[in-house]
Amino acid sequence: MNNLKDKLSIICFSGDFDKLVAAFTLASGAAATNYEVNLFFTFWGLNILKKKKGHVFLGRGFLARFFSFLMGGKNNVPLSRFNFLGISPRLMTKMMKDRNVATLDVLMETAIELGVNLYACDMTMNILGIVRDDYIPEVKEVLGVAKFLEYSKDGETLFI
């Protein structure tokens, strides 16, 4: 047996519902097959980590707060196509439930249960004036490129 654990690191750049489903599906699947999994959330991807799940003014400064309100949280992640003002992600979630496919919420809970590491991008948080405490406690660390490279070294990396 190889002592080094297989490793998968995913840069979750997109805050789109479908792309997050893809990222969390891969993350849970890999973690269940004993991979070490690192999810590095940056830009739009960070929205899913917010404690407040709806359209809420967050952050420091008028522009930052306005942006955060527009983007919303986990309940507002849009479908990358045919979003129709946020109706489609709800319909998609219903279809997933009807077909016994894990929803985004379930996939995220499962990934956390399986010990997937969640990281938040320091630089984006700085732009948006958002602090560590605005995110769910499961976020393991706030970090930058250097740390990400260190953690993802000798594994596979995906950008979603």
């Binding site: 047996m1 599906t25 849970s28 699947g29 973690a31 269940a32 097959t33 004993n34 077909r99 016994n100 496919v101 894990a102 379930v106 499962t110 249960e113 399986l114």
Partner: protein
Amino acid sequence: MGNIKINQLDITNEHCPMTFVKVKLALEKMETKEQLEVLLAEGEPLDNVPKTVKEQGNRVLEITQVKNNIYRVLIEKC
């Protein structure tokens, strides 16, 4: 010889990745030497579950067909 505890798990309605994810989570909660009886469908679950279980160092004791496309996989946690 004590009685070996056999745990049950039905994943016949689950889809990737929750098929092998649920098996993994069930095995994590078990003690060594306990067994897990998994009911699963043919195709992806039947291909992946025994394979990933073995990769994680557990033993697949038997695979039997229960119904048309439903199989029973008996696993021993190692």
